[in-house]
């Protein structure tokens, strides 16, 4: 109950934050329309997807990554003003605290997803209901490692560094994961498959044939989730043990 009320205020705060609207929603939305609208029905080579479908999922993945990682910026900000200490002397459990953070990340991510789905539909992306749901499901699961990454960075890095670090990281991951153009062969193709963001972007294949991730995709996402969650737990311990 108290965790619920806390999460509600956490959401309210995030909605009032201009940076969120810009990076997690505005940025992907603007880029989607810029890239996809001039040739939305054209098929992109090697992918079988139209520009609209390809960039809809790509930029939805980008917004999702941004939303989840920006949890880190909120945590770093709260640490800086000493609010984390204030919460530690309240009955709010550590579990409820992180639940609220991750939940907020997900609400933001789903919002950017919906906005891009609507944009995609306007530009002619038509999929069976099952495919929309399957794609959403994969993105929700694929966002998990980034939820952990956000908590990890939030407790490791200070406020000054967290912004550039997150921006840089998301840009590089987006590039290596085929967000901006298809990576279908060569070193980048082999390397990309080791990244959790690769599989987030791969959710678009549902639009093609209704097929989800390969086993390799599930294993990669699960492994990153475990590794980053352990890192997040370590960073939290290190941060609060120091006091």
């Amino acid at each position: 109950m108290m965790g619920f009320v806390y999460a509600r205020y956490e959401l309210l705060r995030t909605f009032r934050n201009r940076r969120f609207w810009f990076f997690s929603l505005g940025f992907p939305l603007v880029f989607f329309w810029l890239i996809a609208s001039p040739q939305h029905n054209k098929i992109i080579e090697h992918t079988g997807l139209t520009y609209a479908a390809y960039y809809m999922v790509s930029l939805a993945s980008f917004g999702t990554m941004m939303s989840m990682i920006s949890t880190g910026a909120r945590i770093a900000g709260e640490r800086q003003v000493g609010w984390t200490r204030q919460l530690r002397i309240s009955p709010l459990s550590v579990r409820a605290y992180f639940r609220a953070k991750v939940l907020t990340g997900y609400v933001m991510a789903l919002l950017s997803l919906v906005v891009l789905y609507i944009s995609g539909a306007i530009l002619g992306v038509h999929l069976p209901a099952g495919h929309w749901l399957g794609m959403t499901g994969l993105i929700v699961v694929g966002a998990l490692p980034f939820a952990a990454l956000g908590v990890f960075l939030g407790h490791l890095v200070n406020t000054d560094a967290v912004g550039p670090l997150m921006g840089g990281l998301v840009s590089i991951l987006a590039f290596l994961s085929g967000t901006w153009f298809p990576i279908t062969s060569g070193f980048l193709h082999s390397f990309g498959q080791f990244l959790p963001s690769w599989w987030l972007v791969q959710a678009r294949n549902v639009a093609l044939d209704g097929q989800g991730w390969s086993t390799r995709g599930w294993v990669t996402v699960a492994a990153w989730t475990v590794i980053l969650a352990a890192g997040a737990a370590w960073a939290y311990q290190r941060d609060t043990g120091k006091v």
């Binding site: 309210l12 009032r16 000493g82 309240s90």
Partner: protein
């Protein structure tokens, strides 16, 4: 939510007990023995000042009481529980020494959010009323002045309606008027049967607002007793005046004076209440001139009390 007032008196049995509390830090300058084995017992309902100069170990002691830091040795019991359990049960509210507010909420929303985390909170409007925040309740937290921020932090500490309220140098960022109001509210809150512990380096604050003062210096307790007693011990001021040919013994009899001596033409009086002494002095000896009144300062008073400037030699603890 169930009202818990019936339980309130029984749930805080035992008060606060610190036993042999010790904390050492590693710093670039070497090892700092911040707290060196202190014993404190505070009964429920007491208002206690933790008084000492900067670096005395007050904040370290408070952090251990709140469970924010682990003692190297010794134990803390808060109403018969560990600090962690007491915090989880919502028995403790605190205003830490440093800290600002999270942004993007109104003052009212922030206070309401914190209230929602506790089992038996105060009414949010009552807390805002009490702390004088009614007029700025709808302002965003990032747009407040330093003094307003302190008030909101105070509201956050009391809205949870804790049995133990801990305030670590709460008036540091406040102006004179702000301080006066702050202590008025604190006393009003304490009068509800709450236990209050506040850290300060102002003797006047301790004297005016606490029943009892615990003096800390160099990680140790050097005095513990009613504030009047503490004040008499450390609150002396020195009054100097050019006043030839008056018997020091007569000067020592002035109200508020404790002792007097003479150096040439200068009379030097040690006063427990220099205000009274100066009035009487000028009434009886209008020829007195070049008058100076100097406070000893807590640091000097502590050195006098402990009798040595450096306490870094190993301590023999009788256990």
């Amino acid at each position: 939510m169930q009202p818990m007032t019936a339980q309130a008196s029984s749930r805080n049995g035992g008060g606060i007990r610190l036993r042999g509390l010790t904390k050492t830090f590693k710093s670039p300058q070497g090892t700092v023995r911040a707290v060196r084995g202190i014993d404190v017992a505070i009964d429920p309902g007491e208002t206690v000042a933790l008084l000492g100069p900067n670096g005395a170990g007050k904040s370290t002691t408070i952090d251990m009481m709140l469970g924010l830091s682990k003692p190297d040795a010794g134990s803390v019991s808060v109403f018969g529980r560990t600090p962690h359990d007491a915090v989880d049960a919502g028995l403790v509210g605190a205003m830490l020494q440093t800290g600002q507010l999270i942004r993007d909420l109104s003052v009212r929303e922030l206070v309401a959010m914190m209230a929602a985390l506790y089992p038996d909170p105060m009414d949010v409007d009552e807390a805002l009323q009490l702390t004088g925040l009614k007029d700025i309740a709808l302002q965003r937290t990032q747009k407040l002045s330093g003094g307003q921020t302190q008030r909101v932090r105070f509201a956050v500490a009391i809205v949870c309606n804790p049995d133990l309220l801990v305030l670590d140098e709460p008036t540091v960022a406040m102006d004179v008027e702000g301080r006066r109001e702050f202590w008025t509210i604190m006393r009003e809150f304490a009068s509800r049967g709450k236990t209050v512990l506040f850290a300060t380096h102002y003797l006047e604050e301790a004297d005016a607002n606490a029943d009892r003062a615990i003096l800390m210096a160099h990680g140790r307790i050097v005095a513990d007793g009613p504030t009047t007693e503490i004040k008499a011990r450390v609150g002396r001021r020195t009054l100097r005046a050019t006043l030839p040919s008056v018997d020091p013994a007569k000067l020592a009899e002035l109200p508020g004076a404790v002792s007097a001596e003479r150096h040439g033409d200068a009379a030097i009086l040690s006063c427990s209440d220099s205000d009274q002494t100066i009035r009487a002095l000028l009434a009886q000896y209008p020829q007195a001139k070049d008058i100076e009144i100097v406070g000893a300062g807590l640091e000097a008073a502590f050195l006098e009390l402990t009798g040595e400037p450096d306490l870094d030699e190993p301590e023999v603890v009788a256990q």
